[in-house]
Protein backbone atom coordinates (compact mmCIF):
# COMPACT_ATOMS: atom_id res chain seq x y z
CA UNK A 1 0.00 0.00 0.00
CA UNK A 2 1.34 3.38 -0.85
CA UNK A 3 0.71 6.51 1.14
CA UNK A 4 0.71 10.05 -0.13
CA UNK A 5 0.07 13.42 1.40
CA UNK A 6 -0.97 16.45 -0.60
CA UNK A 7 -0.62 20.08 0.42
CA UNK A 8 -0.62 19.20 4.11
CA UNK A 9 -0.67 22.23 6.42
CA UNK A 10 -0.85 22.34 10.18
CA UNK A 11 -0.50 25.29 12.51
CA UNK A 12 -0.50 24.77 16.28
CA UNK A 13 -0.41 28.34 17.54
CA UNK A 14 -2.49 30.99 15.85
CA UNK A 15 -0.24 33.62 14.33
CA UNK A 16 2.88 31.45 14.76
CA UNK A 17 4.73 29.83 11.92
CA UNK A 18 3.05 26.62 10.74
CA UNK A 19 4.57 23.33 11.92
CA UNK A 20 3.82 21.84 8.53
CA UNK A 21 3.33 23.94 5.44
CA UNK A 22 1.96 22.67 2.11
CA UNK A 23 3.79 19.38 2.31
CA UNK A 24 3.32 16.86 -0.49
CA UNK A 25 5.18 13.62 -0.98
CA UNK A 26 4.55 10.00 -1.75
CA UNK A 27 5.85 6.93 0.05
CA UNK A 28 6.00 4.08 -2.45
CA UNK A 29 4.35 0.74 -1.62
CA UNK A 30 6.53 -1.87 0.04
CA UNK A 31 9.44 0.48 0.60
CA UNK A 32 10.92 2.24 3.61
CA UNK A 33 10.52 5.97 3.19
CA UNK A 34 12.31 8.27 5.60
CA UNK A 35 11.32 11.74 6.70
CA UNK A 36 14.66 13.26 7.58
CA UNK A 37 15.29 16.66 9.08
CA UNK A 38 16.40 18.57 12.14
CA UNK A 39 14.11 18.58 15.18
CA UNK A 40 11.26 21.01 14.79
CA UNK A 41 11.07 20.50 11.02
CA UNK A 42 7.55 19.06 11.28
CA UNK A 43 8.39 15.40 10.63
CA UNK A 44 6.56 13.97 13.63
CA UNK A 45 3.54 16.18 13.00
CA UNK A 46 3.21 14.73 9.49
CA UNK A 47 3.49 11.24 10.91
CA UNK A 48 0.82 11.97 13.51
CA UNK A 49 -1.46 13.40 10.82
CA UNK A 50 -1.06 10.26 8.72
CA UNK A 51 -1.77 8.13 11.81
CA UNK A 52 -4.92 10.14 12.46
CA UNK A 53 -3.71 11.39 15.86
CA UNK A 54 -3.67 14.96 14.61
CA UNK A 55 -6.02 16.68 12.17
CA UNK A 56 -4.48 18.83 9.43
CA UNK A 57 -5.68 22.39 8.86
CA UNK A 58 -5.58 21.72 5.13
CA UNK A 59 -4.49 19.01 2.73
CA UNK A 60 -5.28 15.34 2.23
CA UNK A 61 -3.88 12.00 3.29
CA UNK A 62 -4.22 9.28 0.66
CA UNK A 63 -3.70 5.66 1.55
CA UNK A 64 -3.59 3.56 -1.58
CA UNK A 65 -5.22 6.43 -3.40
CA UNK A 66 -8.17 6.59 -0.99
CA UNK A 67 -8.73 9.84 0.90
CA UNK A 68 -8.40 9.03 4.62
CA UNK A 69 -8.07 12.57 5.92
CA UNK A 70 -11.28 12.41 7.94
CA UNK A 71 -11.01 8.80 9.05
CA UNK A 72 -10.44 8.34 12.79
CA UNK A 73 -7.16 6.84 14.00
CA UNK A 74 -8.89 3.69 15.23
CA UNK A 75 -10.31 2.94 11.76
CA UNK A 76 -7.11 3.51 9.78
CA UNK A 77 -5.37 0.21 10.53
CA UNK A 78 -1.99 1.84 10.68
CA UNK A 79 0.72 0.48 12.94
CA UNK A 80 2.60 3.12 14.89
CA UNK A 81 5.84 2.72 16.84
CA UNK A 82 6.65 5.59 19.17
CA UNK A 83 10.02 6.76 20.41
CA UNK A 84 8.82 6.27 23.99
CA UNK A 85 7.72 2.67 23.14
CA UNK A 86 4.27 3.45 24.65
CA UNK A 87 3.88 -0.15 25.76
CA UNK A 88 1.03 -0.90 28.15
CA UNK A 89 3.04 -1.21 31.33
CA UNK A 90 0.44 -3.22 33.24
CA UNK A 91 0.24 -5.91 30.56
CA UNK A 92 2.68 -8.68 29.74
CA UNK A 93 4.48 -8.76 26.40
CA UNK A 94 1.91 -11.25 25.07
CA UNK A 95 -1.00 -9.12 26.25
CA UNK A 96 0.58 -6.07 24.66
CA UNK A 97 0.92 -7.79 21.31
CA UNK A 98 -2.60 -9.25 21.56
CA UNK A 99 -4.18 -5.86 22.36
CA UNK A 100 -5.05 -4.93 18.79
CA UNK A 101 -6.25 -8.48 18.11
CA UNK A 102 -8.57 -8.43 21.13
CA UNK A 103 -9.96 -5.10 19.99
CA UNK A 104 -10.73 -6.79 16.67
CA UNK A 105 -12.33 -9.70 18.52
CA UNK A 106 -10.11 -12.23 16.80
CA UNK A 107 -10.96 -15.78 18.04
CA UNK A 108 -8.63 -16.81 20.82
CA UNK A 109 -6.69 -19.63 19.13
CA UNK A 110 -6.10 -17.44 16.12
CA UNK A 111 -4.94 -14.53 18.31
CA UNK A 112 -2.60 -16.78 20.28
CA UNK A 113 -1.10 -18.12 17.07
CA UNK A 114 -0.61 -14.57 15.77
CA UNK A 115 1.11 -13.52 19.02
CA UNK A 116 3.44 -16.51 18.76
CA UNK A 117 4.21 -15.61 15.17
CA UNK A 118 4.96 -11.99 16.13
CA UNK A 119 7.17 -13.01 19.07
CA UNK A 120 9.13 -15.18 16.67
CA UNK A 121 9.37 -12.36 14.15
CA UNK A 122 10.92 -10.00 16.70
CA UNK A 123 12.96 -12.81 18.28
CA UNK A 124 11.48 -12.51 21.75
CA UNK A 125 9.89 -15.99 22.06
CA UNK A 126 11.25 -16.43 25.59
CA UNK A 127 9.95 -13.17 27.01
CA UNK A 128 6.19 -13.39 26.38
CA UNK A 129 5.29 -13.45 30.08
CA UNK A 130 7.50 -10.52 31.08
CA UNK A 131 6.26 -7.01 31.77
CA UNK A 132 7.69 -4.08 29.80
CA UNK A 133 9.45 -2.84 32.95
CA UNK A 134 11.51 -6.05 32.97
CA UNK A 135 12.88 -5.56 29.45
CA UNK A 136 15.79 -3.58 28.02
CA UNK A 137 15.12 -0.59 25.80
CA UNK A 138 15.88 -2.52 22.64
CA UNK A 139 13.61 -5.39 23.66
CA UNK A 140 10.80 -3.00 24.52
CA UNK A 141 11.02 -1.39 21.12
CA UNK A 142 10.87 -4.81 19.47
CA UNK A 143 7.70 -5.55 21.45
CA UNK A 144 6.31 -2.26 20.18
CA UNK A 145 7.08 -3.38 16.61
CA UNK A 146 5.39 -6.73 17.26
CA UNK A 147 2.31 -5.03 18.69
CA UNK A 148 2.07 -2.69 15.71
CA UNK A 149 2.61 -5.49 13.17
CA UNK A 150 0.20 -7.94 14.84
CA UNK A 151 -2.82 -6.11 13.42
CA UNK A 152 -1.42 -6.65 9.88
CA UNK A 153 -1.33 -2.90 9.29
CA UNK A 154 -1.63 -1.34 5.86
CA UNK A 155 1.20 0.93 6.80
CA UNK A 156 3.87 1.09 9.50
CA UNK A 157 4.77 4.48 10.94
CA UNK A 158 7.96 4.76 12.99
CA UNK A 159 8.48 7.94 15.00
CA UNK A 160 12.18 8.13 15.92
CA UNK A 161 11.92 4.48 16.96
CA UNK A 162 15.55 4.19 18.04
CA UNK A 163 15.93 7.72 19.39
CA UNK A 164 15.90 6.69 23.05
CA UNK A 165 18.47 3.92 22.65
CA UNK A 166 22.24 4.03 22.92
CA UNK A 167 24.36 4.02 19.79
CA UNK A 168 25.30 0.37 19.74
CA UNK A 169 21.74 -0.89 20.18
CA UNK A 170 20.56 1.68 17.66
CA UNK A 171 22.90 0.39 14.99
CA UNK A 172 21.92 -3.21 15.78
CA UNK A 173 18.22 -2.46 15.60
CA UNK A 174 18.70 -0.57 12.34
CA UNK A 175 20.08 -3.77 10.84
CA UNK A 176 17.26 -5.73 12.45
CA UNK A 177 14.64 -3.37 11.04
CA UNK A 178 16.10 -3.85 7.59
CA UNK A 179 15.70 -7.62 7.97
CA UNK A 180 12.22 -7.25 9.44
CA UNK A 181 11.14 -5.13 6.52
CA UNK A 182 12.48 -7.68 4.08
CA UNK A 183 10.33 -10.33 5.77
CA UNK A 184 7.11 -8.34 6.12
CA UNK A 185 7.35 -6.03 3.13
CA UNK A 186 4.96 -3.59 4.77
CA UNK A 187 5.09 -0.02 3.51
CA UNK A 188 7.03 1.90 6.14
CA UNK A 189 7.41 5.56 6.92
CA UNK A 190 10.28 6.36 9.26
CA UNK A 191 10.85 9.68 10.97
CA UNK A 192 14.38 10.39 12.10
CA UNK A 193 16.96 13.12 12.49
CA UNK A 194 19.74 10.59 12.12
CA UNK A 195 20.95 10.86 8.53
CA UNK A 196 23.00 7.69 8.74
CA UNK A 197 19.85 5.79 9.69
CA UNK A 198 17.96 7.40 6.84
CA UNK A 199 20.58 6.80 4.16
CA UNK A 200 21.27 3.27 5.30
CA UNK A 201 17.86 1.64 5.45
CA UNK A 202 15.50 3.62 3.27
CA UNK A 203 14.75 3.44 -0.42
CA UNK A 204 13.25 6.90 -0.48
CA UNK A 205 14.20 9.96 1.55
CA UNK A 206 12.18 13.13 2.11
CA UNK A 207 14.25 15.95 3.60
CA UNK A 208 12.25 18.36 5.73
CA UNK A 209 13.22 21.91 6.53
CA UNK A 210 11.11 24.20 8.72
CA UNK A 211 7.79 22.53 7.88
CA UNK A 212 8.47 22.15 4.15
CA UNK A 213 9.90 19.48 1.89
CA UNK A 214 13.41 20.51 0.87
CA UNK A 215 14.11 17.52 -1.37
CA UNK A 216 12.77 14.04 -1.99
CA UNK A 217 14.45 11.15 -3.74
CA UNK A 218 16.57 8.02 -3.37
CA UNK A 219 19.31 8.32 -0.71
CA UNK A 220 22.15 8.36 -3.25
CA UNK A 221 20.56 11.20 -5.16
CA UNK A 222 20.06 13.23 -1.98
CA UNK A 223 23.66 12.65 -1.02
CA UNK A 224 25.26 13.25 -4.41
CA UNK A 225 23.01 15.97 -5.78
CA UNK A 226 21.60 18.04 -2.94
CA UNK A 227 18.98 20.41 -4.35
CA UNK A 228 19.48 23.23 -1.87
CA UNK A 229 22.25 24.57 0.34
CA UNK A 230 20.22 23.32 3.32
CA UNK A 231 20.24 19.74 2.08
CA UNK A 232 23.92 19.98 1.20
CA UNK A 233 24.81 21.18 4.68
CA UNK A 234 22.42 18.88 6.56
CA UNK A 235 23.46 15.65 4.89
CA UNK A 236 27.04 14.47 5.03
CA UNK A 237 28.77 16.67 7.62
CA UNK A 238 29.80 19.23 5.06
CA UNK A 239 32.13 22.20 5.39
CA UNK A 240 31.14 25.50 3.82
CA UNK A 241 33.61 27.57 1.80
CA UNK A 242 32.95 31.10 0.55
CA UNK A 243 34.10 32.25 -2.85
CA UNK A 244 33.08 33.78 -6.16
CA UNK A 245 32.69 32.91 -9.83
CA UNK A 246 35.77 33.36 -11.97
CA UNK A 247 35.86 32.42 -15.66
CA UNK A 248 32.86 30.10 -15.31
CA UNK A 249 34.24 28.26 -12.32
CA UNK A 250 33.93 28.76 -8.60
CA UNK A 251 37.04 30.17 -7.03
CA UNK A 252 37.20 29.50 -3.33
CA UNK A 253 40.45 30.95 -2.06
CA UNK A 254 43.01 29.26 -4.25
CA UNK A 255 40.72 26.30 -4.87
CA UNK A 256 38.91 26.13 -8.16
CA UNK A 257 35.85 23.90 -8.50
CA UNK A 258 33.14 23.42 -11.07
CA UNK A 259 30.18 25.82 -10.79
CA UNK A 260 26.61 25.85 -12.13
CA UNK A 261 26.45 27.01 -15.74
CA UNK A 262 23.96 29.76 -14.94
CA UNK A 263 26.45 31.52 -12.66
CA UNK A 264 27.57 35.00 -13.69
CA UNK A 265 31.13 36.30 -13.46
CA UNK A 266 32.02 37.68 -10.04
CA UNK A 267 28.93 36.33 -8.32
CA UNK A 268 29.35 35.10 -4.73
CA UNK A 269 29.21 31.36 -4.24
CA UNK A 270 29.27 28.86 -1.43
CA UNK A 271 30.89 25.50 -1.89
CA UNK A 272 29.71 22.61 0.28
CA UNK A 273 32.47 20.06 0.64
CA UNK A 274 32.13 16.59 2.17
CA UNK A 275 34.88 15.62 4.62
CA UNK A 276 35.97 12.68 2.48
CA UNK A 277 35.98 14.69 -0.75
CA UNK A 278 39.15 16.50 0.24
CA UNK A 279 42.55 14.95 -0.30
CA UNK A 280 45.39 16.08 1.93
CA UNK A 281 48.92 16.34 0.55
CA UNK A 282 52.20 17.56 1.93
CA UNK A 283 53.10 19.33 -1.32
CA UNK A 284 51.04 21.27 -3.85
CA UNK A 285 50.95 18.73 -6.67
CA UNK A 286 47.41 19.38 -7.74
CA UNK A 287 45.88 16.82 -10.05
CA UNK A 288 42.85 16.85 -12.28
CA UNK A 289 40.99 20.04 -13.03
CA UNK A 290 40.99 21.30 -9.48
CA UNK A 291 43.90 22.88 -7.76
CA UNK A 292 45.34 22.29 -4.33
CA UNK A 293 45.16 25.00 -1.70
CA UNK A 294 47.54 25.58 1.17
CA UNK A 295 46.24 25.26 4.70
CA UNK A 296 47.25 24.67 8.28
CA UNK A 297 46.28 21.72 10.44
CA UNK A 298 44.36 23.15 13.39
CA UNK A 299 43.38 19.98 15.18
CA UNK A 300 43.55 16.22 14.75
CA UNK A 301 40.73 14.05 16.03
CA UNK A 302 41.39 10.32 15.69
CA UNK A 303 37.98 8.59 15.43
CA UNK A 304 38.64 4.87 15.12
CA UNK A 305 39.13 3.96 11.46
CA UNK A 306 39.82 7.47 10.29
CA UNK A 307 41.22 10.78 11.50
CA UNK A 308 39.26 14.02 11.40
CA UNK A 309 41.56 16.84 10.39
CA UNK A 310 40.45 20.41 11.01
CA UNK A 311 42.08 22.52 8.35
CA UNK A 312 42.34 26.30 8.41
CA UNK A 313 42.50 27.90 4.96
CA UNK A 314 44.13 31.29 4.25
CA UNK A 315 40.62 32.67 3.58
CA UNK A 316 39.74 32.02 7.20
CA UNK A 317 37.32 29.18 6.40
CA UNK A 318 37.71 25.98 8.35
CA UNK A 319 37.13 22.64 6.69
CA UNK A 320 36.87 19.17 8.14
CA UNK A 321 38.70 16.44 6.29
CA UNK A 322 38.33 12.76 6.98
CA UNK A 323 41.47 10.78 6.26
CA UNK A 324 41.48 6.98 6.52
CA UNK A 325 43.83 5.79 9.23
CA UNK A 326 46.31 4.05 6.93
CA UNK A 327 46.47 7.04 4.60
CA UNK A 328 46.96 9.34 7.57
CA UNK A 329 49.86 7.29 8.89
CA UNK A 330 51.55 7.44 5.47
CA UNK A 331 50.95 11.18 5.29
CA UNK A 332 52.51 11.84 8.69
CA UNK A 333 51.19 15.29 9.62
CA UNK A 334 50.89 16.88 13.04
CA UNK A 335 48.90 19.79 14.43
CA UNK A 336 50.31 23.10 13.18
CA UNK A 337 51.77 21.59 9.99
CA UNK A 338 51.29 23.30 6.64
CA UNK A 339 49.54 21.02 4.14
CA UNK A 340 47.76 21.22 0.80
CA UNK A 341 44.15 20.33 0.24
CA UNK A 342 42.76 19.10 -3.04
CA UNK A 343 39.00 19.21 -3.38
CA UNK A 344 37.75 16.23 -5.37
CA UNK A 345 34.20 17.44 -5.65
CA UNK A 346 31.95 20.05 -4.09
CA UNK A 347 28.36 21.23 -4.37
CA UNK A 348 28.39 24.87 -5.36
CA UNK A 349 25.42 27.15 -4.79
CA UNK A 350 25.17 30.65 -6.16
CA UNK A 351 23.42 33.59 -4.55
CA UNK A 352 20.78 32.22 -2.22
CA UNK A 353 22.53 31.52 1.05
CA UNK A 354 19.44 31.18 3.13
CA UNK A 355 20.17 28.18 5.30
Amino acid sequence: MSVAVEQLTKQFTAGGSPAVSEVSFRAPAGAITTLLGPSGAGKSTILRIIAGLEAPDAGTVLIDGVDCTNLSAQKRSIGVVFQSYALFRHMTVRENIAFGLNVRKLPRPEAEARVDEMLKLVQLEELGQRYPGQLSGGQRQRVAFARALAIRPKLLLLDEPFGALDTRVRVELREWLHELHKQTGVTTLLVTHDQEEALEISQHVVIMEAGRVAQAGPPAEIYDRPATPFVASFVGGTSVLNGHIHEGRAQVGSLIVAAPKSAREGEAVRAYVRPHDIKLMKTASGNGGNSAAPGRVERLKPVGGYVKVLLKLPTGDTVTVEVPRTEFDQLGVAEGDAVHADVRTANVFVGDFSI
Binding site: A73, Q74, V80, F88, A148, I151
Partner: protein, 282 residues
Protein backbone atom coordinates in the same frame (compact mmCIF):
# COMPACT_ATOMS: atom_id res chain seq x y z
CA UNK B 1 30.38 -1.11 47.34
CA UNK B 2 30.54 -1.52 51.10
CA UNK B 3 33.11 1.21 51.50
CA UNK B 4 31.23 3.66 49.34
CA UNK B 5 28.00 3.16 51.28
CA UNK B 6 29.89 3.79 54.50
CA UNK B 7 31.33 6.96 53.06
CA UNK B 8 27.89 8.03 51.97
CA UNK B 9 26.58 7.45 55.47
CA UNK B 10 29.32 9.55 56.98
CA UNK B 11 28.65 12.30 54.51
CA UNK B 12 24.93 12.47 55.35
CA UNK B 13 25.82 12.62 59.01
CA UNK B 14 28.14 15.50 58.36
CA UNK B 15 25.49 17.24 56.29
CA UNK B 16 23.00 17.01 59.16
CA UNK B 17 25.26 19.17 61.31
CA UNK B 18 26.84 18.58 64.74
CA UNK B 19 25.36 15.95 67.02
CA UNK B 20 23.77 18.18 69.72
CA UNK B 21 21.91 20.16 67.09
CA UNK B 22 20.70 16.97 65.49
CA UNK B 23 19.38 15.59 68.76
CA UNK B 24 17.69 18.87 69.55
CA UNK B 25 15.79 18.68 66.25
CA UNK B 26 14.87 15.04 66.68
CA UNK B 27 13.84 15.68 70.30
CA UNK B 28 11.59 18.58 69.31
CA UNK B 29 9.93 16.52 66.62
CA UNK B 30 9.36 13.60 69.02
CA UNK B 31 8.00 15.91 71.72
CA UNK B 32 5.48 17.43 69.31
CA UNK B 33 4.51 14.03 68.02
CA UNK B 34 3.93 12.77 71.56
CA UNK B 35 2.08 15.85 72.79
CA UNK B 36 -0.19 16.41 69.83
CA UNK B 37 -0.67 12.96 68.36
CA UNK B 38 0.17 10.12 70.67
CA UNK B 39 -1.31 11.42 73.95
CA UNK B 40 -4.66 12.40 72.34
CA UNK B 41 -4.80 9.00 70.68
CA UNK B 42 -4.30 7.24 74.00
CA UNK B 43 -6.69 9.66 75.69
CA UNK B 44 -9.52 8.79 73.30
CA UNK B 45 -9.39 5.13 74.23
CA UNK B 46 -8.70 5.82 77.92
CA UNK B 47 -11.82 7.95 78.24
CA UNK B 48 -13.87 5.52 76.14
CA UNK B 49 -12.96 2.63 78.44
CA UNK B 50 -13.00 4.74 81.62
CA UNK B 51 -15.95 2.85 83.03
CA UNK B 52 -14.90 -0.50 81.65
CA UNK B 53 -15.61 -2.49 78.55
CA UNK B 54 -19.23 -3.03 79.60
CA UNK B 55 -20.03 0.67 79.53
CA UNK B 56 -18.19 1.00 76.22
CA UNK B 57 -20.21 -1.78 74.63
CA UNK B 58 -23.45 -0.47 76.11
CA UNK B 59 -22.74 2.95 74.65
CA UNK B 60 -21.92 1.31 71.34
CA UNK B 61 -25.23 -0.54 71.39
CA UNK B 62 -27.27 2.67 71.77
CA UNK B 63 -29.72 3.03 68.84
CA UNK B 64 -28.58 6.64 68.37
CA UNK B 65 -24.98 5.51 67.97
CA UNK B 66 -26.11 3.00 65.38
CA UNK B 67 -28.12 5.56 63.48
CA UNK B 68 -25.07 7.89 63.54
CA UNK B 69 -22.92 5.10 62.11
CA UNK B 70 -25.56 4.37 59.47
CA UNK B 71 -25.82 8.02 58.45
CA UNK B 72 -22.05 8.44 58.32
CA UNK B 73 -21.76 5.37 56.11
CA UNK B 74 -24.66 6.50 53.91
CA UNK B 75 -23.11 9.94 53.36
CA UNK B 76 -19.73 8.37 52.52
CA UNK B 77 -21.30 5.73 50.27
CA UNK B 78 -23.00 8.41 48.21
CA UNK B 79 -20.25 11.04 48.27
CA UNK B 80 -17.29 8.80 47.49
CA UNK B 81 -18.61 7.15 44.28
CA UNK B 82 -19.93 10.47 42.97
CA UNK B 83 -16.63 12.21 43.64
CA UNK B 84 -14.79 9.25 42.14
CA UNK B 85 -16.75 9.63 38.91
CA UNK B 86 -16.36 13.38 38.90
CA UNK B 87 -12.67 13.25 39.88
CA UNK B 88 -11.81 10.80 37.08
CA UNK B 89 -13.72 12.79 34.48
CA UNK B 90 -12.24 16.13 35.58
CA UNK B 91 -8.67 14.80 35.80
CA UNK B 92 -8.99 13.20 32.36
CA UNK B 93 -10.42 16.38 30.87
CA UNK B 94 -7.72 18.60 32.37
CA UNK B 95 -4.82 16.24 31.64
CA UNK B 96 -5.75 15.44 28.05
CA UNK B 97 -7.34 18.55 26.59
CA UNK B 98 -6.75 22.25 26.20
CA UNK B 99 -10.02 24.18 26.21
CA UNK B 100 -11.30 27.58 27.28
CA UNK B 101 -12.17 27.59 30.96
CA UNK B 102 -9.62 24.89 31.80
CA UNK B 103 -7.78 27.09 34.30
CA UNK B 104 -11.09 28.09 35.86
CA UNK B 105 -11.99 24.42 36.30
CA UNK B 106 -8.65 23.72 38.01
CA UNK B 107 -9.26 26.62 40.38
CA UNK B 108 -12.85 25.55 41.08
CA UNK B 109 -11.77 22.04 41.99
CA UNK B 110 -9.62 23.53 44.73
CA UNK B 111 -12.40 25.77 46.04
CA UNK B 112 -13.62 23.37 48.77
CA UNK B 113 -10.03 23.23 50.08
CA UNK B 114 -9.86 26.99 50.46
CA UNK B 115 -13.37 27.63 51.80
CA UNK B 116 -13.94 27.12 55.51
CA UNK B 117 -16.21 24.06 56.02
CA UNK B 118 -18.61 26.14 58.10
CA UNK B 119 -18.98 28.61 55.24
CA UNK B 120 -19.49 25.64 52.90
CA UNK B 121 -22.36 24.50 55.11
CA UNK B 122 -23.80 28.01 55.24
CA UNK B 123 -23.80 28.17 51.43
CA UNK B 124 -26.24 25.26 51.39
CA UNK B 125 -28.37 26.82 54.12
CA UNK B 126 -28.52 30.03 52.11
CA UNK B 127 -29.42 28.05 48.99
CA UNK B 128 -31.86 25.47 50.32
CA UNK B 129 -32.84 26.79 53.76
CA UNK B 130 -36.31 28.09 54.61
CA UNK B 131 -35.17 31.66 53.96
CA UNK B 132 -32.85 30.61 51.13
CA UNK B 133 -33.15 31.15 47.39
CA UNK B 134 -34.77 27.81 46.67
CA UNK B 135 -36.43 27.53 50.08
CA UNK B 136 -39.99 28.53 49.09
CA UNK B 137 -39.97 26.26 46.03
CA UNK B 138 -38.67 23.31 48.08
CA UNK B 139 -41.28 23.92 50.80
CA UNK B 140 -43.98 24.00 48.15
CA UNK B 141 -42.93 20.58 46.88
CA UNK B 142 -42.41 19.19 50.36
CA UNK B 143 -38.70 18.56 49.79
CA UNK B 144 -36.40 18.68 52.81
CA UNK B 145 -32.73 19.31 52.28
CA UNK B 146 -31.51 21.42 55.16
CA UNK B 147 -31.77 19.73 58.58
CA UNK B 148 -32.28 16.46 56.69
CA UNK B 149 -30.16 13.68 55.19
CA UNK B 150 -29.88 15.22 51.67
CA UNK B 151 -28.25 18.33 53.18
CA UNK B 152 -25.68 16.21 54.96
CA UNK B 153 -24.89 14.30 51.77
CA UNK B 154 -24.57 17.58 49.83
CA UNK B 155 -22.27 19.14 52.41
CA UNK B 156 -20.14 15.98 52.48
CA UNK B 157 -19.99 15.95 48.68
CA UNK B 158 -18.83 19.55 48.64
CA UNK B 159 -15.99 19.23 51.14
CA UNK B 160 -14.68 15.98 49.63
CA UNK B 161 -15.02 17.22 46.06
CA UNK B 162 -11.27 17.79 45.29
CA UNK B 163 -9.73 14.61 46.68
CA UNK B 164 -9.95 12.15 43.79
CA UNK B 165 -9.37 14.75 41.06
CA UNK B 166 -6.35 16.16 42.91
CA UNK B 167 -4.77 12.74 43.35
CA UNK B 168 -5.43 11.42 39.86
CA UNK B 169 -4.56 14.55 37.88
CA UNK B 170 -0.79 14.63 38.58
CA UNK B 171 -0.54 10.89 37.89
CA UNK B 172 -2.28 11.32 34.55
CA UNK B 173 -0.18 14.33 33.64
CA UNK B 174 3.06 12.56 34.56
CA UNK B 175 2.24 9.52 32.45
CA UNK B 176 1.34 11.40 29.29
CA UNK B 177 -0.97 10.04 26.62
CA UNK B 178 1.40 7.91 24.52
CA UNK B 179 -0.21 4.66 25.61
CA UNK B 180 -3.68 5.98 24.85
CA UNK B 181 -2.55 7.04 21.39
CA UNK B 182 -1.01 3.64 20.81
CA UNK B 183 -4.30 2.00 21.84
CA UNK B 184 -6.17 4.26 19.45
CA UNK B 185 -3.96 3.34 16.50
CA UNK B 186 -4.47 -0.33 17.39
CA UNK B 187 -8.17 0.20 16.81
CA UNK B 188 -9.46 0.64 20.37
CA UNK B 189 -12.43 2.94 21.00
CA UNK B 190 -12.21 5.78 23.51
CA UNK B 191 -14.17 3.87 26.15
CA UNK B 192 -12.18 0.65 25.64
CA UNK B 193 -8.96 2.67 25.91
CA UNK B 194 -10.16 4.31 29.12
CA UNK B 195 -11.07 0.98 30.73
CA UNK B 196 -8.11 -1.07 29.54
CA UNK B 197 -5.30 1.48 29.39
CA UNK B 198 -5.99 4.70 31.29
CA UNK B 199 -7.69 3.27 34.36
CA UNK B 200 -5.06 0.60 35.10
CA UNK B 201 -2.37 3.26 34.66
CA UNK B 202 -3.82 5.60 37.26
CA UNK B 203 -5.21 2.82 39.48
CA UNK B 204 -3.12 3.61 42.55
CA UNK B 205 -3.76 7.32 42.31
CA UNK B 206 -7.49 6.58 42.17
CA UNK B 207 -7.38 4.26 45.18
CA UNK B 208 -5.32 6.77 47.12
CA UNK B 209 -7.79 9.53 46.30
CA UNK B 210 -10.74 7.36 47.31
CA UNK B 211 -9.13 6.56 50.67
CA UNK B 212 -8.54 10.22 51.45
CA UNK B 213 -12.00 11.15 50.17
CA UNK B 214 -13.60 8.48 52.34
CA UNK B 215 -11.67 9.51 55.45
CA UNK B 216 -12.75 13.09 55.05
CA UNK B 217 -16.35 12.13 54.23
CA UNK B 218 -16.68 10.15 57.45
CA UNK B 219 -14.82 12.62 59.61
CA UNK B 220 -16.27 15.90 58.33
CA UNK B 221 -17.70 18.07 61.11
CA UNK B 222 -17.96 21.78 60.24
CA UNK B 223 -20.03 21.79 57.06
CA UNK B 224 -22.21 18.89 58.17
CA UNK B 225 -22.81 20.53 61.55
CA UNK B 226 -24.27 23.64 59.92
CA UNK B 227 -26.77 21.79 57.71
CA UNK B 228 -27.60 19.00 60.15
CA UNK B 229 -29.81 20.74 62.71
CA UNK B 230 -28.69 18.05 65.20
CA UNK B 231 -31.88 16.01 65.09
CA UNK B 232 -30.81 13.11 67.28
CA UNK B 233 -30.92 9.75 65.63
CA UNK B 234 -31.92 11.33 62.33
CA UNK B 235 -29.34 13.88 61.15
CA UNK B 236 -26.36 13.23 63.40
CA UNK B 237 -23.28 11.70 61.88
CA UNK B 238 -20.62 10.13 64.11
CA UNK B 239 -18.62 13.34 64.66
CA UNK B 240 -21.82 15.24 65.48
CA UNK B 241 -22.99 12.43 67.73
CA UNK B 242 -19.72 12.62 69.66
CA UNK B 243 -20.12 16.36 70.12
CA UNK B 244 -23.71 16.13 71.34
CA UNK B 245 -22.85 13.45 73.91
CA UNK B 246 -19.85 15.44 75.06
CA UNK B 247 -21.96 18.54 75.61
CA UNK B 248 -24.31 16.39 77.71
CA UNK B 249 -21.36 15.26 79.87
CA UNK B 250 -21.72 11.68 78.57
CA UNK B 251 -17.94 11.27 78.24
CA UNK B 252 -17.95 7.51 77.76
CA UNK B 253 -20.53 7.84 74.97
CA UNK B 254 -18.68 10.74 73.33
CA UNK B 255 -15.35 8.96 73.39
CA UNK B 256 -16.90 5.71 72.23
CA UNK B 257 -18.04 7.50 69.08
CA UNK B 258 -14.63 9.19 68.92
CA UNK B 259 -12.88 5.83 69.22
CA UNK B 260 -14.80 4.52 66.21
CA UNK B 261 -13.57 7.48 64.16
CA UNK B 262 -10.05 6.97 65.49
CA UNK B 263 -10.06 3.32 64.48
CA UNK B 264 -11.26 4.42 61.06
CA UNK B 265 -8.37 6.91 60.87
CA UNK B 266 -5.85 4.24 61.84
CA UNK B 267 -7.23 1.82 59.23
CA UNK B 268 -7.06 4.60 56.66
CA UNK B 269 -3.41 5.23 57.54
CA UNK B 270 -2.50 1.56 57.20
CA UNK B 271 -4.32 1.18 53.88
CA UNK B 272 -2.82 4.45 52.62
CA UNK B 273 0.67 3.25 53.54
CA UNK B 274 0.03 -0.05 51.76
CA UNK B 275 -1.25 1.72 48.64
CA UNK B 276 1.77 4.03 48.60
CA UNK B 277 4.05 1.03 48.89
CA UNK B 278 2.24 -0.86 46.11
CA UNK B 279 2.19 2.17 43.84
CA UNK B 280 5.96 2.45 44.03
CA UNK B 281 6.74 -1.22 43.49
CA UNK B 282 5.91 -2.04 39.87
Amino acid sequence: MHVSSLQLQRRTHAAAGPAPFRWLLIGTALLFLGLFLFIPLVAVFTFAFEKGAGAYLASLAEPETWSAIRLTLTAALIAVPLNLAFGLAAAWLIARFRFPGRDLLITLIDLPFSVSPVIAGLIFVLLFGRQGWLGPWLAEHDLHIIFAVPGIVLATLFVTFPFVAREVLPVMQAQGSDEEEAALTLGASGWYTFLRVTLPKVKWGVIYGVILCNARAMGEFGAVSVVSGHVRGVTTTLPLHAEILYNEYDFVGAFTAASLLTVLALITLVVKKYVEWRAHTP
